[in-house]
Symmetry: D2
């Protein structure tokens, strides 16, 4: 039986795109994950602000880490994101995912992305389905 | 006055993350964009399937190209995505964005992502707000 | 074993709010439902157009009829709706729900609401979770 | 110039479906609205729990009251809702809408629906577009 922190460490070690994003885990608990990363030039779109896909991806990773912390393979079914403020190269963004609801098979998670000033950059909500397959974090 | 194709070419030329994704534009018309890209190893998550953020990002780029094709700076307010099937390294994905509704200031766009077999991988919907600022595609 | 039409008839007969809405089923097949209804004065908001909750409710009913047509109790987890055009008292709206994806346990359905002129009024997407409990349509 | 409370009172007085729902306003401030209502038998679906459309409608009304409190006609473009727990006939539900973000033209609002025990029943997020037309609350 692995702890949430062991599972997250294992997942991140195998998750190449989360590594590319430079995600740094700050805390993992059951149904919870907090991480941060830095916006680089390669993450910008044609208007010189962070690409929406980068914000979504960081939130989606935090969501995956939070909902797999139970040690059972859990998949995202659906997600939505509201973009409330832009972010720029060099900005440090904090991403915090927590369960709004976790039933036996399905869960709803919310993820906030904030900048160093505490401004909300994006608000993400994801619906997850828990399979019957344990995650081997060894 | 620039054509939709000129605007898209200009946007992609300045959009570093869309370039990183390897997006190849197949067609651009007013309120429409079709593109494709290839899943690479670096786009995978810890379960060896494409990271959800990659699918979202490709859809978000196609959405941005479609809704900026009018030549006026248009911003994504909100987006949702349903994940219906996984994709793997080497898969060629087609991304097609079209307007469901385009009013004076606001628009709703839908984006389908399909694999080479024609299976739906993800379905994206985005809400856009059109500013008053023209895009300079020179 | 009940047919999709028997299940829908049974569900509607017990669904008091769908009856209040005046939903009339036009067709039911596996993972599909088409119905129509008429906007009444009581369905209007303070701006004299149809209340968004009425559009959502009609779409949600069509979604429920479509995803329960398999004969196994299926629950909505999440839904989103884009409002593209208003509707007024007396308008006849057609609501068509179909599966975008149906896996073993989870499904994604899309619902279009159109007026008599064929204009899109709203676009709804729902994520459903199928339980193990059969529906008794006797 | 009308106060948020005057605008909400005016809107509710003309909103026939919100009246049908029995919505009772508890508080209105700029970009904020709290209300409650009681689930009646007529609001149930075929599984004897509250119809999802009722939950959406109550949230959508609170959202409309909150985002029109500025005194300028504001329209919902898109909304999503996650259903986390069922509610039954006789339950008293509290609906609280607040701005997550309010820019010059566009806003994002979140609405929580909770029961008397404080359990989350549904979580709603809406994107709004503010027109240039003042609301006449006289």
């Amino acid at each position: 039986m692995s702890t949430p922190a062991e599972i997250t460490t294992h997942m991140l070690a195998h998750d190449r795109f989360s590594q590319w994003l430079g995600l740094q885990i700050d805390a993992t608990e059951t149904a919870y994950c907090k991480l941060h990363f830095v916006i680089t030039d390669q993450m910008l779109n044609g208007f010189d602000v962070v690409h929406g896909g980068i914000l979504f991806a960081a939130a989606d990773s935090a969501f995956a880490f939070a909902c797999n912390s139970h040690g059972i393979l859990t998949l995202a079914l659906n997600a939505d994101i509201a973009f409330t403020r832009t972010a720029h190269s060099g900005d440090i963004l904090t991403v915090e995912a927590k369960a709004i609801h976790q039933g036996g098979r399905t869960g709803v998670y919310q993820v906030d992305i904030t900048n160093a000033a505490g401004d909300l950059i994006a608000l993400f909500k994801g619906t997850a389905y828990r399979t019957s397959k344990p995650i081997d974090a060894q």
